[in-house]
């Protein structure tokens, strides 16, 4: 059931109960007031009848001779007189003596219990219904010659009941109209109130169906508004996460595509030359060329597979960082690169610091060798490569700088991509697979190091890798212990 219908029904129930109770008590109160008025009137009337009859009797009793029968006749006569004189309205009069009706202006008589039980000097009343009409009977009781004389008057009070009925009917009509009007108002109001909820629901539905741009546009400052805000935040983070995953998949796809391409190039040469060699006789020099290509492309494939293995290994294994001396690290790297640098007559300028970082010696060594090897490939014979370290503000920066060909600006952003080569033919000649820098980037990233590259064509390239220093207070703490 829709929320707005629930609100509507609850409100209808509450309003009905509220208004119904009020109406009931109001009508009851009115009825009681009118009734009391009628009773009072009847009693007054009874008083009047009683006084008149007693007056008639008193004047008779002042004469000398009277008998019981005369007296009773007088009562009846007096009653007739009084009735004809006084009762111009709807009241009826009835007189009983010694439990016998001696005069009645109407056929309708009240219950005998009323006037037989009333005490002398007291008045009593009763309300009775006859044929759909209501009557009030008031009875007074006096003693006449040691016998009870009851004067009973009756009044038709159906009007009071009719009034109550009318009031209650009118009130019912009123109640229904108010309910209808209130319901319409409530429906409109609850629709307005639940509208944001509905739009939120629509938004989440379309989000669920794949429209990831769908956002709730609700500006109310209530719970729904904050729910919408929370929903939007959630949607944002879902989309962000999804984009991240998509990006990851795209990068993986790109990697595979690049890898296949890189694999296909040497494969084409190897298969093609071998195919040519076996299909026909060729001049000696062509045979040698074909064989050389098969050899060199085979080597390239092998180098690539090694690098790729290293790359995948680094990617899948987390580093095990230890306290590492920058000096020791750089010295090992320098020793490793020495043979290939001397082969090209390149000198290595080494400046180290006594700093310590947290890192994996083997991985960092491989990454730095890659950088120096890149520098070597870019350098001319007899050139220099600067391999320096500098400690500054709780950080240590290792710099690898060559004075070779440099990297053109448009290539700078892509040098970290796997299989990307700035100068393909040169890189191939040097046995590069385009994986060195992406491997280095992976390793530096795992060490929380930041890498900056400065390069200018035909002037050289400088890689600056900044590591956070090894936290000394940990050691100090250990010493205290």
């Amino acid at each position: 059931m829709k929320f707005r219908y629930k609100v509507l029904i609850i409100n209808m129930i509450v309003i009905s109960i509220g208004l119904g109770t009020i109406g009931y008590f109001m009508i009851l109160k009115n009825f009681n007031l009118a009734m009391n008025q009628q009773i009072e009137n009847s009693v007054e009337e009874n008083n009047l009848f009683q006084a008149s009859i007693e007056y008639e009797l008193l004047s008779l009793m002042n004469t000398d001779s009277y008998s019981k029968n005369v007296l009773l006749d007088k009562v009846v006569e007096g009653s007739e007189n009084v009735y004809s004189n006084l009762s111009a309205n709807s009241s009826d009069l009835c007189v009983a003596y010694d439990s016998n009706i001696i005069y009645s202006s109407t056929q309708e008589l009240c219950n005998e219990a009323l006037w037989s039980t009333v005490d002398v000097g007291m008045k009593n009343y009763t309300i009775e219904e006859k044929d759909g009409r209501y009557y009030i009977y008031v009875s007074s009781s006096t003693l006449l010659m040691d016998k009870k004389l009851n004067i009973i008057n009756s009044r038709d009070i159906t009007a009071v009941y009719d009034m109550m009925k009318q009031q209650s009917n009118y009130y019912k009509l009123l109640l229904v109209s108010v309910l209808v009007i209130c319901s319409i108002f409530m429906y409109i109001l609850s629709t307005l109130l639940t509208k944001p909820l509905e739009s939120l629901q629509k938004v989440s539905e379309s989000f669920g169906k794949g429209d990831y741009d769908a956002r709730a546009n609700i500006n109310t400052k209530d719970e729904i508004g904050s729910l919408a805000d929370t929903y939007n935040t959630m949607a944002d983070s879902v989309v962000e996460h999804m984009d991240e995953l998509k990006g990851m998949v795209a990068r993986q796809e790109q990697f595979v595509a690049d890898f296949t391409h890189e694999l296909k190039t040497p494969m084409t040469s190897i298969i093609g030359y071998a195919d040519t060699l076996r299909s026909r006789e060729m001049p000696r020099e062509q045979q040698i060329m074909a064989a050389s290509y098969i050899f060199s492309e085979g080597q390239r494939l092998e180098a690539m597979s090694m690098k790729l293995f290293e790359f995948i290994y680094t990617k899948q294994h987390s580093i095990s960082p230890k306290k590492l001396s920058i000096k020791k690290l750089m010295n090992t790297v320098a020793t490793s690169v020495e043979p290939m640098l001397t082969a090209k007559n390149i000198s290595l300028e080494l400046i180290t610091t006594d700093s310590f970082i947290l890192g994996d010696q083997d991985l960092l060594k491989s990454a730095l060798i890659n950088l120096i090897d890149n520098g070597r490939k870019a350098s001319k014979e007899g050139s220099t490569i600067r391999f320096t370290a500098k400690e500054e503000n709780d950080q240590v920066t290792i710099t690898v700088e060559d004075f070779g060909t440099g990297i053109p600006e448009e290539h700078l952003s892509k040098i970290w991509d796997a299989f990307y080569m700035v100068d393909k033919s040169r890189s191939r000649k040097e046995g590069g697979a385009g994986l060195g820098l992406s491997l280095a980037a992976l390793i530096f990233d795992a060490h929380n190091a930041t890498v900056d590259v400065y390069s200018k064509t035909s002037e050289g390239t400088r890689f600056a890798i900044t590591f956070p220093l090894y936290a000394e207070e940990v050691t100090a703490h250990e010493e205290v212990d």
């Binding site: 026909r280 006789e281 060329m289 492309e297």
Partner: protein, 219 residues
Amino acid sequence: MIKILIVEDEKPISDLIALNLGAQGYSCTQVYDGMEAANLLENNTYDLVLLDIMLPNVDGYELLEYIKPLNMPVIFITAKAALDDRVKGLTLGAEDYIVKPFQVVELLARVGVVLRRYNKASSELSFKNIKINTEAKTATRDGVPLDLTPKELELLALLIRNVNITLFRENIYETIWDSEYSGDTRTLDLHIQRLRKKTGLGKCLKTVYGAGYRLEDSQ
């Protein structure tokens, strides 16, 4: 002489294509980047352009747009094997699409098809008094039709295309019968014998011992 431009940044592959096309008598020009190719195309005409897609400076697709108005047929040679790439290459107007790594035979066949489609290479092959129409699949000697089976005709055409070159058994077998060579050369030997008989080329169609066959025009 049919002139072919090879635009391929991988020197080994470029050399491979040039080596094989050269052996077929095509004259090949090799360039290694897109810019260079565009410069050459400005002043020279070629009967066919073999184009790599991933090229430095100007890529293959851009170059194709440049070549199209020059009305030279283009065959893409690329490592991009995805269907989308093939469709893109072909809809852009390339005549064919060869995926690396390719077989030399396949390359030669596709080059031949495109050249014939452009009427650059005649569908007529001739050797001495023998003529073959590769389109109509007919052969004549001195104008008299020869009764050759389709395989015999293909074999003869292959030999005539490689005049004075020794063709190895395995390769001939794989090219003509389109299946892996299994060491049984009797089918091939039988066809060669029948060819010698039917064409009267007994002297020119030499058996190279331990290797294969060679058609020589010196005899």
